[in-house]
C-alpha cells in the first residue's frame, strides 16, 4: 500500500468513525422551493438581460436576424478602432465582416494569441436575471484561452438561448456539463481596492454582446 493510499484510507476512516453508523444508503434530496422557472415573457426577459449587462458596463447591440450579424460585428470593431480579431475555426464564415484582418484559431500557441486586440465568439446560453453569459467552449465559442487574452470580447447571443433564471440555464446545459464552463458577467473587474468595483483587470476589459434572433 502506498503512502497516498494510506492517507485516503485514513481520511475516509476518520469520516466514517465520526458520522453515525446507520445512515440512509441514498441521501435524501434537499428541498428546492426557490424559483426554478421564470415568469417574464420573451420581450421582458430580453429587456432584463440588456439592463443587467449595461449595469455591468458591457455594451449591447440588438439585431433582428443572422443576416445583420456581420454588420453589427463590423460596427462594434470600428467603434473602438480595431482591425484585427480572432475567431475559432468553426465560426460561421457568413458572419465575418469583410475588410478586417481575421485570425483563425487552429491550435495557435498562446504567444500568437496574445496581442490580438479582439475575439468574436458565440455562447451556449445567457441568464437575464443576473446578466450572465455561459460558454462551454465548443464550436464557435472557442477554447478558453481565446476569450481570455484579447482585450475586447464580442459575444454573440442567440435570443432563443436566453433564460430568465440561472436554474433554467443550467438545466439547459445538462448534456454538456462535463465540458469546461465559463460564466461571464461583464468585463473583468475587481472590488479589491476599498470594495469599490473597478472595471478591467486581467480578463477582457471591454465586453460587447450582440443579441440576435427573431
Amino acid at each position: 500500500m502506498s503512502a497516498a493510499q494510506t492517507a485516503r484510507e485514513e481520511i475516509l476512516a476518520r469520516i466514517r468513525a465520526a458520522l453515525p453508523a446507520e445512515r440512509d444508503a441514498t441521501p435524501p434530496t434537499a428541498p428546492r422551493s426557490y424559483q426554478r422557472t421564470g415568469s417574464l415573457d420573451r420581450e421582458q426577459c430580453l429587456h432584463l438581460l440588456r439592463d443587467r449587462l449595461l449595469d455591468y458596463g458591457a455594451e449591447v447591440i440588438e439585431v433582428d436576424g443572422e443576416a445583420a450579424l456581420s454588420g453589427a460585428i463590423s460596427a462594434a470593431l470600428i467603434k473602438v478602432g480595431e482591425r484585427r480579431f480572432i475567431v475559432a475555426s468553426e465560426f460561421p464564415a457568413a458572419w465575418l465582416p469583410s475588410d478586417f484582418d481575421v485570425v483563425i484559431d487552429r491550435n495557435l500557441p498562446i504567444a500568437a494569441i496574445e496581442g490580438i486586440p479582439a475575439v468574436i465568439t458565440t455562447s451556449e446560453a445567457a441568464v437575464a436575471s443576473s446578466g450572465t453569459l455561459l460558454l462551454v467552449h465548443q464550436g464557435a465559442q472557442g477554447r478558453r484561452v481565446l476569450t481570455l487574452l484579447p482585450d475586447h470580447h464580442i459575444c454573440i447571443v442567440d435570443t432563443a438561448r436566453v433564460f430568465e433564471l440561472l436554474p433554467e440555464a443550467l438545466a439547459a446545459l445538462d448534456a454538456v456539463k462535463s465540458k469546461p464552463l465559463t460564466t461571464i458577467a461583464g468585463p473583468s473587474a475587481t472590488s479589491d481596492i476599498e470594495m469599490t468595483r473597478i472595471l478591467g483587470v486581467h480578463g477582457p476589459r471591454r465586453l460587447t454582446i450582440i443579441l440576435y434572433g427573431d
Binding site: 497516498a4 492517507a7 485516503r8 481520511i11 475516509l12 476518520r14 469520516i15 466514517r16 465520526a18 458520522l19 445512515r23 441521501p27 434537499a30 428541498p31 428546492r32 422551493s33 426557490y34 424559483q35 443587467r52 491550435n107 498562446i110 496574445e114 436575471s129 443576473s130 446578466g131 450572465t132 467552449h137 477554447r143 478558453r144 484561452v145 481570455l148 436554474p167 443550467l170 445538462d174 456539463k177 462535463s178 465540458k179 469546461p180 464552463l181 465559463t182 460564466t183 458577467a185 461583464g186 468585463p187 473583468s188 473587474a189 475587481t190 472590488s191 479589491d192 481596492i193 476599498e194 470594495m195 469599490t196 468595483r197 473597478i198 472595471l199 478591467g200 483587470v201 486581467h202 480578463g203
Partner: protein
Amino acid sequence: MSIRVGKTAKAPEFPVAAKCALQNEQLRKNVHHATDVIRNKRALRVAEMPDWEHLRQSAHEIKEQTLAHLDRYLIEFERNCTAAGGTVHWARDADEANAIAISLIQQYGGDEVIKVKTMTSDEVQMNPALHAAGITPHETDLADMIVQLGDDEPSHIVVPALHRNRFEIRDIFRKKMHRAELTEQPEELAAAARRYLRDRFLRVKIGVSGANFAIAETGSVCVVESEGNGRMCVTLPEVLITLVGIEKMIPSFQDLEVFLQLLPRSATGERMNPYNSLWTGVHAGDGPRAFHVILLDNGRTKLLQSKMERETLDCIRCGACLNACPVYRETGGHAYGSIYSGPIGAILSPQLNSMQHSRSLPYASSLCGACYEVCPVKINIPEILIHLRGRVVQDDQKTLSGNLSQMNLAMQGAAIAFGSRRRYEAAQRLGRMGQTLFQRGDQLRHLPGMAGGWTRFRDLRALPKQSFRDWWKANSRETGL
C-alpha cells in the same frame, strides 16, 4: 500530525491583539469604509431576490446532507475526476498537502507557480513551504498581491487587503513594482497589476488554485472570481494543482444553481461575479495537460461528529458575517490571529486546531446574531460560539488553576446562588450590603477583580434597596391580595 491554520499557533490572544488594532485609527477607518460599502451593496442585491430565504434553506440542507455522506461524495468525486483525466491526492494535514504540491512541482520541473487566491493554501502555509523548497509563488489576485508585496497577512476571507486604502496600496506598488509615477487612482492601480502579472501568466508553466466547489457527480471543480486572474491560472499553465478542503464537495451540477446565486450577492454584492470557471479533469486541446487535486482534511473530520460543530463546515467563504460583525468592524481581521477571521473564523479556527489555539476567539463576539442573519447557508454562528465557550470552560475545569480562576469561582458561586430561592434571596441581600463600598449615587464604580473590566468602561446600576419580590410581598399584604 501537523494541523495548521495559518500562523495561529504563534498569534497573541484576541483581547491583546484587539487592543492594539483599536489604537490604529487608519485601520479602523479603512475597515469601516470597506465593510459599509459592501454591506449596502449586499442588502440591495439580496432585497431584489424574492426567493432568498428559500435559497438559503436549500443551501443549508444540501451542505448538511453532503457532510452527512461525505465519504460517499469524496469517493464519487475521485472516481469522476480520475475518469476525466485528473489525478486525486489525499492529504491528512498541512505538511502532507505541501509535500504533495512540492513533489508535483518538482516532478514537472518547475521553480515558480502562479496562484489564484486560495485561503486553503494560506491555511496550510503553502507559500513559506514553497519558498523553503526553492519555488517562487506568484499571487495573482489583486488583494493577495497587495498582501504578498506588502509582506502582510490577509485580514478578510474575500478581500484579504481590506485593511489597506488606495494610498497605502499605491505606496506598496510604487516600491515593489518600481513605478514611482503611480497615483492612487484605483483604475491605475488595477492596470499596474495587469502589467506586472501579464508576462508571468504567459510564462509560468504551473498553476495552483483552490476551489469554491467540487462536484461529486461530474468530478468538476469550480473557481469563483472577478479579475480574470483565476481564468489565467486554470487555463494557461501546462500543469494545474488544485487544493480542495474536503468540505467543498457538493453532490450535483444542479446544486450550483443554488450556490452561484447566493455567493456573489453575499460576498461582493453583485448579481453575479464577473467570472466562474468550471473544469472536469483534463480537456483535450483546451487548458492544462495535467490536472492534480489535493483533497485536504487538516482537522475538518474532527468537526463531523457533533451535528452542531459540523455546521461550521457548511461555510462557502463569502465573508458576509465579517462585514456584518460589530466586533470585526472595529478590530479588522488581524486581531483574530488566524487567516479565518470574523465570526466564522471565531468558530472555525479553534475547532480545526482542537481548541489548542484561538481559545479566546469564541469570546470575540457580542452574540448579536448579525452573522447568522446574513449567512447564505444559515450557519447558526452564535449558537456554535456559545457551545465552544462551553468547551473552553470544560477544558479549564480540568486543571487546578482553571478551577480556582476568578471566573470559574464566580460562575460556580452563581450556579449555587441561582439554584434555590432561599440562596438567591440571600445573595441579593449580601450584594446590597457589599455594594455600598463601591456605590456612587445609583451607580457602581470601580468594582474589584474581574467585574472591574465592566465598570471601567460602562455604567452599572446599583441593586435597588428593595427587590421586586420584596415589594410584591409587602404590597400584596397591604392590599390583601
